[in-house]
């Protein structure tokens, strides 16, 4: 899987209330959630993010609630990959489960600025900040999570185990 997009950078502790405030949780419609993505961090984000763009953040991204609406809103508004210094564990798991690629890497985050073009090659395990001309090796996901991602999410993966 390869991705290339313009990056948007935010700080530490971007919690799920900032990603999708509870006032919009009376629906689970992805298109509706996407309209409010990151609203309480940056009210202009949903309007300016483009298809394939890359979201970059600091420590503890996605902390707080278990709401899967958060990675759904991020994915649906066009973001292709989230790169953070660290992720809150439920968010990380939810992202894998809906096949939203996530990368935990401090150096990429430290180097990147909003507007940088970043390219990611998951198969070869490399990321590149085209704007800054810097290359990074990225750590592969554990096998099980990799398989869930490759199959398109946990429910696709589940088909193998469930007698319908």
């Amino acid at each position: 899987m390869n991705y290339r997009g313009k990056s948007w950078k935010y700080g530490d502790n971007i919690d799920t209330d900032k990603i999708i405030p509870a006032r919009y949780l009376n629906t689970s419609d992805p298109a509706e959630l996407a309209k409010h993505c990151l609203e309480d961090e940056d009210v202009t984000f949903a309007g300016k993010v483009g298809k394939g763009d890359i979201l970059i953040a600091g420590e503890n991204f996605g902390s707080g609630s278990s709401r899967e609406h958060a990675p759904i809103a991020i994915k649906e508004c066009g973001v292709s990959v989230v790169i953070a210094k660290s992720f809150a564990r439920i968010f990380f798991r939810n992202a894998i489960n809906i096949a939203l690629p996530v990368i935990e890497d401090e150096t990429i985050v430290n180097d990147a600025e909003t507007g940088d073009v970043i390219e990611i090659d998951f198969d070869r395990g490399f990321a590149k900040n085209i704007t800054k001309n810097k290359e990074y090796k990225i750590h592969p996901l554990p096998d099980m999570m990799k398989k869930i991602m490759e199959m398109g999410g946990l429910m696709e993966y589940a088909k193998e185990f469930i007698n319908l």
């Binding site: 009376n26 420590e59 609630s65 990675p71 759904i72 439920i90 939810n94 429910m155 589940a158 469930i162």
Partner: protein, 420 residues
């Protein structure tokens, strides 16, 4: 080598004698739950897959507690998804209006969350059941769907942290203050991906409800789970109501912990967490002159009978400050009824507060007490993130019921001694 109680529970449910941190294991789950915000996505996943039956109709709870009584048409539709699914698939524990309460207080009351269990819930505060000696953690909707269908999930065995509390607590210092203090010490990611085991003499005398308040907030330090040893306090609560057989586990003396934190809490003051992170903890005496507009006593953290009782006892014969709205929400119907019978509701209403039907409501800015821009609330809930209880320009200060009540009377953040 020894194991902690969390590791023992994981090993037993993976069919193993031993597990260690970092391993990825498949486990059998004892119980799972979802609410009106999270379960609709799980249900849509299950229907989309075409599955006609669930793993076990007696081990799934669907709890519409967040926006209930339904606050608008969309919320009513979310709850209807749960209700229709429960009927069609025969789910035993769908809690309808009039029987529902805040999930993490309701399920223990119903005897559905037991020592030694593995419990997953599509709600981050599912870690509450660690107070009863369960390995219990929050997941998302898709993970819940997988467990509803298979009775299984996977975990990375978390690293283990131990917290030891020593000393007798001062008057007005509660388990809420202990957990706010702890999060203040280690930070909102201080236990990221890890287990928090709560131990020490101070905790032995805590009620089961007070212990649940601490386990509830393990997630606010980023933890996967929080857990307490099972003792007589646990068993006195659990035994009369347990709906299934259970087995208690304990940590070995030579169990391995990546960090051990020991706190002498004998001099601890009541704590307040300032906006906009639970780690921004201060002593209440250092929180002078913070004027407030609203006080909320309730939520899965502090909506229990003992919490309502503290509020009623403190406010008896006094009035809510003219510039403050006091909202008191018991977490379950049985707590509501007991508070009504024992005259607590009357005291609160006479003081100028409201006493409402069980709901998560204001804790997550859902309904029943939303803040306008620039308003400040003291809340006994567990999160003070930006916009948590309303406008992104509002502020939430986390505290115990005693501090919240004193603040309601004085119109500013206050120590309970100031009104006694």
């Amino acid at each position: 080598m020894g194991m902690t109680m969390s590791e023992k529970i994981l090993a037993a449910h993976a069919g193993r004698d031993f597990v260690e941190p970092g391993e990825i294991i498949d486990v059998n789950v004892d119980f799972c739950l979802g609410n009106d915000v999270t379960a609709p996505i799980s249900i849509q996943n299950i229907r989309k897959l075409g599955a006609k039956k669930v793993w076990d109709v007696e081990r799934i709870a669907l709890i519409p507690d967040h926006f209930t009584p339904n606050k608008d048409i969309k919320s009513a539709e979310q709850v209807k998804i749960l209700r229709d699914f429960a009927k069609e698939y025969g789910i035993k524990y769908f809690f309808e209006m009039g029987r529902v309460g805040v999930e993490h207080v309701l399920l223990p009351e119903e005897g559905l969350t037991l020592p030694g269990d593995i419990i997953i819930g599509a709600d981050s505060h599912t870690c509450t059941y660690g107070a009863f000696g369960a390995f219990s953690t929050g997941v998302g909707s898709t993970d819940l769907a997988f467990t509803m269908l298979t009775g299984k999930t996977w975990f990375k065995v978390p690293e283990q942290m131990k917290f030891i509390y020593k000393g007798k607590l001062n008057k007005w210092v509660s388990s809420k203050d202990l957990i706010l203090y702890t999060i203040g010490q280690i930070g909102v990611d201080g236990a990221l991906y890890r287990s928090m085991e709560f131990t020490g003499d101070t905790l032995k005398s805590l009620t089961i409800d007070s212990r649940a308040t601490m386990a509830n907030m393990a997630i606010e330090a980023g933890a996967k789970n929080g857990i307490f040893a099972v003792d007589d306090v646990t068993l006195d609560y659990v035994k009369p109501r347990a709906k299934r057989a259970f087995k208690a586990y304990d940590s070995d003396p030579d169990a391995k912990y990546v960090e051990v934190h020991e706190y002498d809490v004998s001099k601890l003051e009541p704590q307040v967490s300032f906006p906009h992170l639970p780690e921004n903890t201060k002593n209440v005496s250092d929180a002078a002159n913070v004027k407030i507009d609203q006080v909320f006593v309730g939520a899965c953290t502090n909506g229990k009978y003992e919490d309502i009782e503290i509020t009623a006892n403190l406010i008896k014969g006094k009035k809510v400050h003219p510039d403050v709205r006091l909202i008191v929400i018991p977490a379950t119907q049985s707590i509501w009824l007991k508070a009504m019978k024992n005259g607590l509701a009357e005291i609160i209403v006479n003081a100028g507060g409201v006493f409402s039907t069980p709901t998560c409501g204001p804790c997550l800015g859902g309904h029943m007490g939303i803040l306008a821009k620039g308003e400040r609330a003291v809340a006994t809930s567990n999160r003070n993130f930006v916009g948590r209880m309303g406008d992104p320009g509002s502020e939430v200060y986390l505290a115990s019921p005693a501090v919240a009540t004193a603040s309601a009377v004085l119109g500013r953040i206050a120590h309970p001694d100031e009104i006694k």
